[in-house]
């Protein structure tokens, strides 16, 4: 400890800026990890809380996927002796002037046996369900919501419903706490039968919440209910809704984990770099300490202790940074997940998990310690006599390099073997990690080779400055290769993510051109994914008669749990689909598959469904429906991007039969040749817009919407890219700062023999740009490998789409100047400090 204070602190203080830069790697790594996970956890916690609060004393919930089920199911449930109380529920998220509000449609008569409604005041209207029920516009709101919107009893609340914008009346205000705190308090309760009407749900419920009779266990009750209701129904405790939710966010978590591991990895290199340099610079000091009697172990401990302190400082800052990051991200994740689940969370308070924070802290410290192991060993092995002699010794020994090359070869071979066995997930990921390690081990050697190769080029450009810049790289492999490795890793990440994004965008556009080709889309919401409201099928008949409409497809999209995942069932007129789009299957016979599906004897599944859920052509898929388990063979696998979780396409007739539901989410309309898009749109709006909640979107609007969604999805990717590039830039600044310190004398000599300041700057700049260049070369090369793995990860565990490998030449071409300019910018500061120092000191420096 004393040593730390006496020896390390003065050094650290002297190189404060560099240490801060060094910590940045850890800060970012830990920060991204903490940020993503905290955001995730907070969203999940909020979701769980909302579920819990809404659940009340509900022990089991009966659901049948998104389409819900007929009212008779309620009577079946209530008829069971094991059920003490059962109450139907409809949930809908509805837009208001002050954001989304979760509407809970309940039967006020029976619901109180499951949920406690704690009302303010003693208003008779609320106490008297008769008034509440007699008036269809009755609404109970929470105190939070009331305050936010300035509502009192009998205030009017406009809301968007299936029948257009309607005005509701506040007939009760719930006290905060319990149910009233669900969904962040943005909750309103309405009579369920009114909700059916206003949200176009027909005579259906979303689910039935129930409590069991005394003495009946959850298992018994659930088993009895399952038998009574049949396979189309799910009977689970409320908490299992959260479990599914977690599964949905798994892909997302995976992505964020990879990013933070990368950030940490890059951070580790920067730390390694800094320590390696510190050991070199402090050789004399170490020599003196050794001469004064310090043991090797003490020296090693000193450096490890320094790295531990750095790790703790960096990780702590990282945790703080992560918490800030989480604040920004939780809304985004919440939005994404609520899209999948309809009802979801309300980004409220951040949920800080002490284990997560502690773990992240430990991770940062361990990374820091790990990075310092080799430099600490090098420090311990410093020979006191040699250290005290003049001159420096910092070249990476050839032996060290050879060892690294051997290990690189071993890793590369192992990665190759893993690639052959990549059917196995573990092997695949092992191959990924090994290939990265191999490249990192090779980085110093490759850096050296490239520096040698660059020397004549740089000399030709600027005989003195260029040569010296190249020599600096060659002579300072410790300071160069760490930075190059960090740069390489981050650029590889950029290339692979960029490639992934480009490739998937390409296939997405292709899909949009072939499959998303109707001229107009009639929807219940501004977006294609809004499923709060549905249309009656009857509306379709009316739309068909509108002049200019050539063909109309009715689409019903519902989320149903198939193979334990909430996938999207798309029910559509298959024959029309075949005629209009004729999507070519990835697998299956294009001539027969549509017909088979149209006959109701099969389904088409999306590629991502096939990958994520492991479904094969010809396999029989079990789809739970309220009328019983549907068993339909997979007739074809098509490229369909309708849903991240995967989609199953079936004939509309079959769906209506199985779900007893002929409602429609989207009407796809093809116009007659020569019909005016705007005119038809107007006709539809004129005919139905007043009495119906209805939106008419043109093809280009829909495409824009899809593109925007994808952009959003990749929005996070761009943040990751920015983080990676930032880390790498800090690495360059770090390397250069060290480089000019190391080369002070050299630069001094240069000035003494007539080098102008501009010439000194040039050499620093050239060194930076050369580091950038080498990083680009290696990064783009490694990126080619990583892109392969990124596509694999995407296919296996994230989006399930097999995206063809295509190297993002554009991204690479755009990256090169960006990185070179960034490197140059990073060099400006160090270059200025290089020309500012005292010449005399520089020359005496030794």
């Amino acid at each position: 400890m004393m040593l730390l204070r006496l020896i390390s602190w003065p050094y650290a203080r002297k190189h404060l800026l560099r240490w801060l830069l060094t910590l940045t790697g850890i800060v970012l790594g830990v920060g991204v990890f903490v940020g993503m996970h905290t955001a995730n956890q907070s969203v999940l916690a909020a979701f769980h809380e909302t579920i819990d609060r809404i659940a009340g004393t509900t022990q089991l919930q009966v659901t049948a996927g998104e389409p819900g089920f007929d009212e008779v199911v309620l009577e079946k449930v209530q008829a069971l002796a094991e059920v003490r109380a059962a109450a139907p529920v409809i949930e809908a998220t509805v837009g208001t002037d002050t954001g989304n509000v979760l509407i809970l449609g309940v039967d006020m008569l029976g619901d109180r046996s499951l949920r406690t409604y704690d009302f303010e005041g003693t208003d008779a209207a609320i106490d008297d369900p008769l008034v509440f029920l007699a008036q269809a516009d009755s609404l109970i709101v929470t105190r939070t919501f009331a305050d936010k919107n300035g509502l009192k009893l009998n205030s009017r609340v406009p809301m968007k419903t299936m029948q257009g914008d309607l005005v509701f009346t506040v007939r009760g205000i719930m006290k905060p706490g319990g149910l009233a705190s669900a969904f962040g308090g943005d909750l309103a309760v309405m009579d369920i039968y009114a909700a059916q009407k206003f949200f176009g749900r027909g005579r259906k419920f979303d689910r039935v919440d129930l409590a069991l009779a005394d003495g009946v266990t959850l298992e018994q009750g659930a088993a009895k209910l399952r038998t009574a209701l049949g396979p189309g129904f799910e009977v689970e405790p409320p908490s299992s809704r959260g479990d599914q939710f977690e599964q949905t966010s798994r892909a997302y978590t995976l992505g964020s984990n990879i990013t933070s591991v990368f950030a940490l990895f890059i951070g580790m290199f920067i730390i390694y770099n800094t320590f390696a340099i510190a050991v070199t610079q402090r050789r004399a000091e170490i020599g003196i300490l050794r001469a004064l009697g310090a043991t090797r172990a003490q020296i090693r401990t000193l450096f490890l202790a320094e790295s531990a302190v750095a790790g703790i400082a960096g990780s702590s800052l990282g945790v703080l940074f992560g918490i800030a990051l989480a604040r920004g991200m939780s809304g985004y994740i919440g939005g994404m997940l609520s899209e999948v689940y309809g009802v979801a969370q309300h980004s409220g308070e951040l949920e800080l998990d002490p284990w997560l924070l502690g773990g992240a802290l430990a991770m940062g410290v361990v990374t820091s310690l790990f990075a310092a192991v080799i430099p600490a060993r090098a420090a311990a092995s410093v020979d006191p006599v040699k250290a005290l002699q003049k001159g420096r010794n910092q070249a990476l020994t050839e032996r060290e390099n050879r060892v690294r090359r051997w290990w690189a070869l071993v890793c590369a071979t192992a990665a190759g073997v893993a690639l052959l066995l990549s059917n196995n997930s573990v092997m695949f990921y092992a191959g990924f990690v090994l290939s990265v390690i191999a490249s990192v081990l090779l980085a110093p050697t490759l850096t050296l080779w490239l520096s040698h190769a660059l020397r004549p080029v740089l000399s030709a450009l600027r005989p003195v400055e260029g040569t010296l810049a190249a020599d600096s790289l060659i002579q300072g492999p410790r300071r160069t290769s760490g930075t190059v490795a960090a740069l390489m890793l981050s650029l590889a990440l950029v290339v692979s993510l960029g490639g992934l994004s480009r490739s998937s965008f390409a296939s997405l556009s292709e899909w949009m051109t072939t499959a998303l080709n109707p001229d107009l889309f009639v929807t219940t919401g501004e977006t294609l994914t809004s499923r709060t409201f549905v249309f009656p099928a009857l509306l379709g008949e009316g739309l068909r008669k509108i002049p200019g409409v050539a063909e109309l497809q009715m689409v019903r999209s519902v989320r149903v749990t198939v193979r334990n995942a909430p996938v999207m069932i798309l029910a559509i007129d298959v024959e029309s689909l075949e005629k209009r789009t004729g999507m070519r299957p990835l697998e299956g016979d294009v001539r027969t598959m549509y017909k088979q599906v149209a006959r109701g004897e099969g389904v088409l599944i999306s590629e991502n469904f096939a990958h994520l859920r492991g479904a094969k052509l010809g396999e029989v898929l079990e789809i739970p429906a309220p009328t019983g388990m549907l068993r339909l063979p997979v007739a074809g696998i098509v490229r369909d991007y309708s849903d991240q979780q995967g989609s199953v396409l079936m004939s509309r007739e079959r769906f209506i039969q199985a779900w007893n539901d002929d409602s429609v989410n989207i009407f796809r309309i093809y116009l007659q040749p020569g019909a005016d898009e705007a005119a038809v749109r107007q006709r539809i709006l004129d005919a139905y817009g007043k009495t119906q909640r209805l939106f008419v979107l043109t093809n280009s609007e829909v495409r824009q919407y899809v593109t925007r969604l994808t952009d959003q999805w990749f929005g996070l990717t761009y943040i990751q890219i920015a983080v990676a590039v930032l880390v790498a830039m800090l690495g360059i600044v770090n390397a250069l700062t060290v480089s000019i310190t190391d080369r002070r004398r050299e630069l001094g000599v240069l000035q003494a023999v007539g080098g102008l300041r501009q010439q000194i700057r040039h050499t620093v700049w050239m060194e930076a740009v050369a580091i950038g260049f080498i990083g680009i070369v290696l990064g783009l090369a490694l990126g080619a490998v990583e892109l392969y793995y990124a596509l694999g990860i995407a296919r296996r565990d994230m989006i399930g789409i097999d995206i063809g490998y295509s190297y993002p030449v554009g991204v690479a071409a755009a990256l090169a100047p960006v990185i070179l300019i960034a490197a140059f910018l990073a060099a400006i500061g160090p270059a200025e400090s290089a020309v500012r120092g005292s010449l005399v000191e520089a020359l005496e420096y030794e």
Binding site: Q78, G110, T122, D127, P129, V131, A134
Partner: protein, 244 residues
């Protein structure tokens, strides 16, 4: 097996009897009528409620086991038109539907909800239905000077674990009922202002008290008539929907 039922709400009937079951059966016999009509006025007081007045019209056809009733609210304006159809079954609990004009549909009142309060009054839905005497065990607890005290225990599921009935010997009218659940006294009903209508001793006022909530509801019967001509067709779901 007796097919006779206890109408908790509407009663009166005299006969000499020895054991408790016979007493109750005699109560029912004397109460028997083919149809009934009245206009009820409800006042709910106490229990933190504002004094709220509601009016309804009530029609019943058939007696006991096979009776059907329709109840329609007339006052206040915001609940006008809301109706309730009760179809009693001799062997099981009644079916009940509520008509909701605002959303234009009827709504079944589930069995499990029968213990909930009947629209803000101190009655529960269960209190509105008739039950077969066979569904209860009776025990004569005593003779309190002109009044028998009878304990009834439900054989089937009910919100109540037991009730005490006070039956006036003079004319076999029930003058008071106390119903208990596990926690204690839940509801107490007083029958008052007895009057003979078409030979049937009828209470013109019923007061029900929700003991835990300390709230009471007074129901006054006006234009009470028995054995008037009513059609079966007016006691169906369709009729409920028609709102006549």
């Amino acid at each position: 097996m007796s097919r006779k039922l206890i109408p908790w709400l509407l009663l009166a009937a005299p006969l000499v009897a020895q054991d408790a079951r016979q007493i109750i059966e005699e109560v029912q016999r004397r109460q028997r009528s083919e149809s009934q009509h009245y206009e009820g006025t409800l006042e709910v007081t106490g229990g933190g409620n504002r004094i709220a007045t509601k009016r309804w019209t009530f029609d019943r056809i058939g007696s006991f086991g096979s009776s059907k009733s329709i109840l329609r609210f007339t006052v206040p304006a915001e609940v006008k038109g809301v109706g309730l159809l009760i179809v009693n079954h001799p062997e099981r609990a009644s079916d009940q539907w509520m008509w909701r004009p605002a959303i234009g549909r009827e709504q079944r009142i589930a069995l499990q909800d029968r213990s909930t309060r009947f629209f803000g009054t101190d009655f529960s839905f269960e209190d509105l239905e008739e039950r077969d005497v066979a569904q209860f065990d009776f025990k004569l607890l005593g003779d309190e000077g002109g009044v028998w005290k009878v304990e009834s225990t439900p054989r089937k599921s009910s919100q109540y674990t037991r009730s005490f009935l006070w039956v006036k010997k003079e004319n076999y009218t029930i003058v008071k009922v106390e119903s208990y659940n596990k926690k204690g006294l839940l509801r107490a009903i007083d029958y008052r202002d007895f009057e003979q209508v078409k030979g049937i001793w009828t209470a013109r006022t019923t007061e029900i008290q929700d003991v835990p909530r300390n709230s009471r509801t007074t129901l006054k019967y006006d234009k009470l008539e028995y054995n008037i001509p009513l059609k079966d067709a007016d006691f169906t779901l369709d009729a409920l929907r028609r709102g006549t």
